[in-house]
């Protein structure tokens, strides 16, 4: 398609009129009518698949003709999106057809030259490097860096190969950069990951509180469901708690602007008022809640970015028993006056939020994503939001839940459920516990003691170790860390430094640029697969088209390498292994409250929300009448939290300041994020013309008053500088987002303007998730 020839109307009046059905149309029609043309178009063959982009998991129908995807349409039968998509979803099929798709394995020579090689040569090369590294330097020196975009099969194959084959725990996903704090929030409180609610909450709730979550752009279809609910029920309210005005704010009934990082104080301030005003559901708390507190000393914890912690960050929290009285005493300091001072949120708004959470007559759904998770105290912030619901008993019921949203299509299904993290095993198990390792070894048919009990490197430390040379062989699949990691200058690399880096992807990226070996992957409907979305819905799809050239699915690549390393016993299946592999994985989940549906059932349905027992899905976990693990009379039962006597833990978590705050040299806050049109590092969406042309490059949003003070106008070239780097961008004033005074925002999708060269690699103490949302910067006109 020669799209460069296209001309646009640049203004309603310019160019041809929209209603020009003139004689030229008719003449052309008549002329064509006289020619020999076929009647009607060939029908497309339609099949179902979840969307490839975000964690919402919209159902699409995929239309195929001539062996290519030619169209998609929103799946009206999908309970997720009911036929609606967002602009990324509607333009989905074009992401497969960028002209520069990787179609052959390519090896890089030290001089930078790339040579096309065969799969046999490529797989031998990977197997040799990993085998030699294992032999010479041990299991701590190999690593796999995966993704929340891995299908379940890919993640499971990688996990089994790394933990069951190489006896290493150095496997971590990019989900560490996005969902880890939510995982640790759920794990520390409910001892089981993932939300209790589901998307039906969007029609059942009364108040929707968005904590740092620009839902209109990041989860547009879910936001549509809330907007429709409010249209039908005018009592519904949307509260946007944010650090800048976004398109979401335009729809909010209440906009609450807080200083970056002060959400910890704000949440404690709300808890303080709930306790002081007797809005705690004491009966619920007595029956279902225990209190815990951990290490709270700032100096003891740090930020994972300065001093010794800048090389390797290890912190282990402890859980001390506490009581409601301790909790009340702990909250004493978080008076509206003090919280208003820390957060710059007016006292009246703090009181309004407490009134909203404390109102027994109204269901509250709290929603959050990266704002809360990418936070130097992200786990704490997750704890505090969950606390709000536990204290008020607004949990486990339709329309009353804390709901953590996800950004990748299988962050839940693969990274979190399969457990492709350095410390985890499938279905909520961890490598540190012997009975968990034993269960995995049994299912995998391995000798007892095979699995390494010591957790491996988490994502940021994995790259620190790779830069040091402690990790010598690394395989990256379905992700683009040389754009998405924080503080990018730290990881600069020239191939041929003695380490071996393999990258599997579908397009050239800054990450494939530094790879020693590039493997071409099959994407989405070019292979069969399974994703799991934010509401615990597992969705299967079939292959609909052939991958281009020699491209192969990621799981196949791993299995073939494992076989070459003498680990073929891990993947014993003959022929099509998709179903038997899934069923083996499923056996981890059965009977422990994370029960997945059978592969056969997944094929027949528009996804199923686990736990699936007797073929029935579960809309609300821990809730009588919904969750088959809860008896009818129990109401809510946190049956997974064995360590807390099957109750949920409310944690006492104080306010800590961010790792870096503006000062005289760097007087602005810098926050980063996404835009509606682009997904993650843009390697897919930027290859879709309509999306790229809508937002062709990154820019910096600044406040009008700040812009005026520095004589900066929209479209001016400005230089943005932090202690880590500097970047020239175009300024945008009064664009789609409006930061408050003293604050800047830059999206991270643009690989030629990498804002992550400027961000700080400080991280959450518990989840080890980096904080992309706040550091100090200065801006000047160029």
């Amino acid at each position: 398609m020669k799209i460069d020839r296209r001309r646009f109307l640049t203004g309603v009046g310019a160019g041809t009129s929209v209603a020009a059905f003139s004689c030229s149309d008719r003449e052309e029609a008549e002329r064509l009518a006289a020619s020999d043309v076929a009647q009607g178009l060939p029908d497309l063959t339609w099949s179902k698949a979840p969307c490839r982009f975000c964690g919402t998991g919209c159902g699409v129908e995929v239309g195929v003709a001539d062996g290519k995807v030619q169209a998609v349409r929103g799946d009206e039968a999908s309970p997720v999106n009911r036929g609606l998509l967002c602009v990324k979803g509607y333009h989905l099929p074009a992401f497969l057809y960028g002209k520069d798709r990787l179609t052959q394995p390519q090896r890089r020579f030290p001089d930078g030259r790339l040579e096309t090689i065969s799969w046999d040569e490529a797989l031998d090369l990977v197997a040799q490097h990993f085998s030699r590294t294992l032999e010479e330097s041990g299991p701590e020196s190999v690593a796999v860096y995966g993704s929340g975009q891995w299908g379940v099969h890919d993640g499971y194959a990688a996990l089994k190969w790394v933990k069951g084959g190489m006896r290493s725990n150095n496997i971590d996903p990019n989900a560490r950069l996005c969902m880890a704090s939510a995982v640790m929030g759920f794990v520390t409180q409910f001892q089981s990951d993932e939300p209790m609610g589901c998307y039906q909450d969007f029609e059942a709730g009364d108040d929707f509180v968005l904590w740092g979550n620009n839902m209109a752009e990041m989860h547009p279809v879910l936001f549509s469901r809330i907007l429709e609910h409010r249209r039908q029920d005018p009592n519904v309210r949307i509260v946007d708690i944010a650090t800048r005005r976004t398109p979401t704010s335009q729809y909010a009934d209440l906009y609450v602007e807080f200083k970056p990082g002060s959400d910890l104080a704000l949440a404690n301030g709300i808890l303080h008022l709930l306790v002081e005003n007797d809005r705690v559901d004491q009966a619920f708390v007595r029956e279902n809640v225990v209190f815990r507190r951990g290490i709270e000393d700032l100096d003891q914890i740090g930020f994972g970015a300065f001093g010794d912690q800048a090389e390797r960050y290890v912190f282990k929290d402890r859980a001390e028993e506490a009581s409601f009285d301790d909790f009340r005493a702990f909250l004493k300091d978080y008076t509206p006056a003090r919280v208003a001072e820390i957060s710059e949120v007016p006292e009246a708004q703090i009181r309004a939020l407490a009134e909203l959470y404390g109102n027994r007559g109204r269901g509250v759904v709290s929603l959050w994503c990266m704002g809360v998770n990418q936070h130097t105290r992200g786990t704490w912030m997750n704890n505090l939001i969950n606390n709000l619901h536990l204290l008020t008993g607004k949990i486990g019921r339709p329309g009353a839940n804390p709901f953590s949203l996800t950004g990748q299509p299988s962050a839940c299904g693969t990274a979190r459920e399969v457990g492709t993290l350095s410390n985890r095993l499938p279905a909520d198990m961890v490598v540190m516990k012997e009975d968990h390792r034993r269960k995995a070894e049994e299912i995998w048919g391995l000798e007892a003691g095979t699995i390494n009990p010591k957790p491996g490197y988490h994502a940021v430390d994995m790259f620190r170790a790779f830069s040091r040379g402690d990790v010598k062989a690394m395989w990256i699949q379905v992700t683009n860390p040389w754009v998405s990691l924080p503080n990018l200058h730290r990881w600069e690399r020239k191939p041929g430094d003695g380490r071996f880096l393999v990258v599997s992807d579908i397009y050239p990226t800054p990450t494939t640029e530094v790879a020693d070996l590039i493997l071409p992957s099959a994407a989405w409907v070019e292979r069969e697969g399974v994703f799991g979305n934010s509401e615990r819905r597992t969705q299967q799809w079939n292959q609909a088209v052939d991958p281009p050239g020699q491209a192969k699915e990621d799981a196949w690549q791993i299995i073939e390498v494992a076989k070459r390393m003498g680990m073929g016993h891990l993947f014993p299946w003959e022929g099509d292994w998709h179903e038997p592999m899934f069923e083996e994985y499923r056996s981890f989940t059965l009977g422990n409250g994370k029960d997945l549906a059978s592969y056969a059932q997944l094929k027949e349905t528009r996804g199923m929300m686990w736990p699936v027992v007797d073929g029935k899905e579960t809309a609300y976990r821990y809730s009588a009448g919904h969750d088959p693990y809860v008896k009818k009379a129990e109401g809510v039962h946190f049956y997974k939290a064995k360590g807390y006597g099957e109750r949920a833990a409310v944690w006492l978590r104080p306010y800590h300041p961010p790792a870096e705050v503006p000062d005289d040299a760097y007087p602005f806050w810098l926050t980063t994020g996404r835009v509606l049109e682009h997904w993650h590092t843009g390697s897919m969406t930027r290859r879709i013309r309509q999306l790229h042309q809508a937002v062709p490059s990154a820019y910096v949003e600044l406040n009008r008053a700040d812009a005026a003070a520095a004589s900066i106008k929209s479209g001016d070239r400005v230089r943005l500088t932090t202690r880590r780097g500097s970047l020239e961008l175009l300024a945008e004033v009064d664009g789609r987002g409006a930061p408050p005074r003293g604050s800047l925002f830059v999206p991270f999708f643009d690989e030629s303007l990498k804002i992550n060269e400027l961000t700080l690699d400080a991280m959450d103490n518990i989840s080890k998730e980096p904080d992309y949302k706040k550091c100090a910067a200065r801006i000047e006109k160029v």
Binding site: V37, Q39, A65, V695
Partner: protein, 203 residues
């Protein structure tokens, strides 16, 4: 535009289906590769710079069924102030077609236009593409007998406001209704697209 055969394939195919629609007798038989047929026809000459409605429609979409991009610059007004139920003609500016979603319920599709329709701030792709989108299929609905009301040949979702495309200044002549005053189209014209592939899963 120098020659029609240099046009994007999908546009040519879109024009070709327009033909089918316009040939009222619809008795043209099948022969030959369709794209060739169109490009040969198309190359036989057409005033430079004039776009047919079908071509313009195709240009604005990735494939038939994808939401069109916004073909003008932001005007500082809310979309629905011009793209309302009937559309709006503004002297010296043009005609803004009405929104076909005006009556769409269920997912609040009317609340946030820019969720699906985006402005274009650049005219250059980042990387060329080999994607070929499904062209518009303009086959007419079938009639049980001459004079019976034709069935609806396309899906209704997001196009509940029939009159947006089938009447008024923005309606292409060949699909313009003779009886816009009757309002309740579905009373006589039934949706005939294939049902979703799988049964809806009850929730």
């Amino acid at each position: 535009m120098a020659a029609m055969n240099s046009l994007p394939t999908c546009m040519l195919r879109a024009m070709w289906v327009l033909t089918v629609l316009c040939s009222v007798s619809c008795s043209v038989s099948c022969a030959g590769p369709r794209d060739t047929a169109v490009s040969q026809e198309g190359s036989s000459g057409k005033a430079a710079g004039v776009k047919t409605a079908a071509l313009e429609r195709a240009e604005r979409r990735l494939f038939d069924g994808a939401p069109p991009i916004i073909p003008h610059e932001a005007l500082g007004a809310s979309c629905v102030s011009c793209h309302n139920e009937r559309g709006m003609a503004v002297e010296d500016l043009g005609f803004s077609p009405p929104s076909p979603h005006e009556l769409t319920g269920g997912m609040s599709a009317m609340a946030r236009c820019e969720q699906c329709h985006v402005y274009q701030r650049s005219h250059e792709p980042w990387v060329e593409t080999t994607f070929v989108g499904q062209p518009q299929d303009l086959r007419r609905g079938t009639r049980l007998y001459p004079g019976a009301p034709p069935t609806m040949p396309h899906a209704k979702l997001m196009r509940e406001n029939c009159l947006a495309c089938h009447s008024g200044a923005a309606a292409r002549e060949e699909i313009r209704t003779t009886h816009p005053e009757r309002q309740r189209c579905e009373q006589c014209h039934l949706q005939q697209i294939e049902a979703p592939m799988l049964k809806s899963f009850p929730i």
